[in-house]
């Protein structure tokens, strides 16, 4: 899943650095992720995983790192399975 997140970040994140140089726990906003780009990544993830981000995950924290995105996706996918 991390790899998919990284691929979509590389494609839609418009980061000033290569995503390969960003650690899983690194703050993506500090790295240069704009709020516009974070929404684009979010839309790409919704498309890729056929999900919809619920209201309580629509905040900066859910998108603050690769790990945070993974945690959010895991939560959504688990809720869907249940």
């Amino acid at each position: 899943m991390k790899q998919t997140i990284r691929t979509l970040l590389a494609k839609h994140g418009n980061l000033p650095v290569s995503i390969e140089d960003v650690a899983d726990g690194a703050d993506l906003y500090d790295t240069g992720l704009s709020s516009f780009a974070s929404v684009q990544v979010m839309l790409a993830l919704e498309e890729e995983f056929d999900i919809e981000f619920p209201e309580h995950l629509l905040n900066r924290k859910s998108f603050s790192s690769v790990e945070a995105i993974e945690a959010a996706l895991t939560e959504i996918l688990e809720d869907q399975a249940a």
Binding site: P16, V17, Y29, D30, T31, G32, L33, S34, S35, F36, V39, M42, L43, E46, F53, E55, H56, L58, N59, R60, K61
Partner: protein, 393 residues
Amino acid sequence: MTAAAKITALGLAERAKRAAKAATEFADRVDVEGRFPAEGMEALKSERLMGIMIRPEFGGEGASLTEVADVCAILGQACAATAMTYAMHQIQIASLADYAVGSAWHEAFQRRICAEQLLIASATSEAGIGGNLRNSLCAIEVDGDTARLTKDATVISYGANADAIMVTSRRHPDAAHSDQVATIFLKDQYTLEQTSKWDTLGMRGTCSDGYIFKAEAPAEQILPRPFAEIAAQSMLAVSHLLWGSLWYGIAADAVARAQSFVKAAARKSPGQVPPGALRLAEASSLLQLVKANVVAGLKQFEGCKGDSDALNAMSFSVAMNNIKIGTSQTILEIINHCMLICGIAGYKNGTPFSLGRHLRDAHSAQLMISNDRILGNTSTMLLVNKQDTSLLG
């Protein structure tokens, strides 16, 4: 009881009204001369209103944002330049009070703000970046305990009259443009070389000149929290709410002038409804919309205060953006209505019904943080955000 204690024993609104009375007398001169609203700001200091939002243990009164918004609305009815200067100062205070907790320097500085009634400006706009708050080109350089910063600041409102300036910059020379910190610099720690003059249509007294800002100060003056967090959770919401409050004040005074015009006409021709009466009813309805918008926003902000998840939520940002868009557009409509009611007496300067200053000041509202930028930002969020359709939620 000391003189200061006697003043702070009175209610905030009462003190704000006294300061507004002093400011209103000079509002036209401040506007015509494009000068700092010194009398209004002096009155605010005399009324000990500069540090009210700071916590009591640091010498403040622990006032809520709602109480500060009320002060802004009162001032907005008197002198928009005084109100805007005060509102911008309070935006810095809100950041300091909530995002420097535990930092000894910043806590001592808050004590000084209260004791000496200091005025704090901010330098966020930068040449090459424009008004995008969340980007910096300049970088702070920390060398041991010393921090140095040079910024080509295109706008520093009341910069020449401030006692300290909060300046945004990149965290270090290798940091990304959005990896920012905010630093407080005291007047004796910086130089300002003026690069542009604030000669504008309205809000002339805010003296938002451009400067090359150069400073050196102890590194402990850098705010401990990342600026991204301060901007997202405090600065944007506080700006929209305090600006919205004083914009309401400008419009409310315009409606008051229009109402006295209609009343005078009614007295002259008893038994007849004056021609402007219907339009006044329309203006009154629009003014109520603006008021409701701001008050609902304040309620939502107070409800989220201290809850970083709630403050970071996309729905919260959408709501705050909508307050800014709605108030800034509607006040123009209101004041234009008032102008139609008062006719030439409203168009002319120096009458009891003059509205030129109100209209010019109000035109700044759509531009300070451009409405187009805000609408663009909201439209992005609406691609994923789910609309809250409840009436009370």
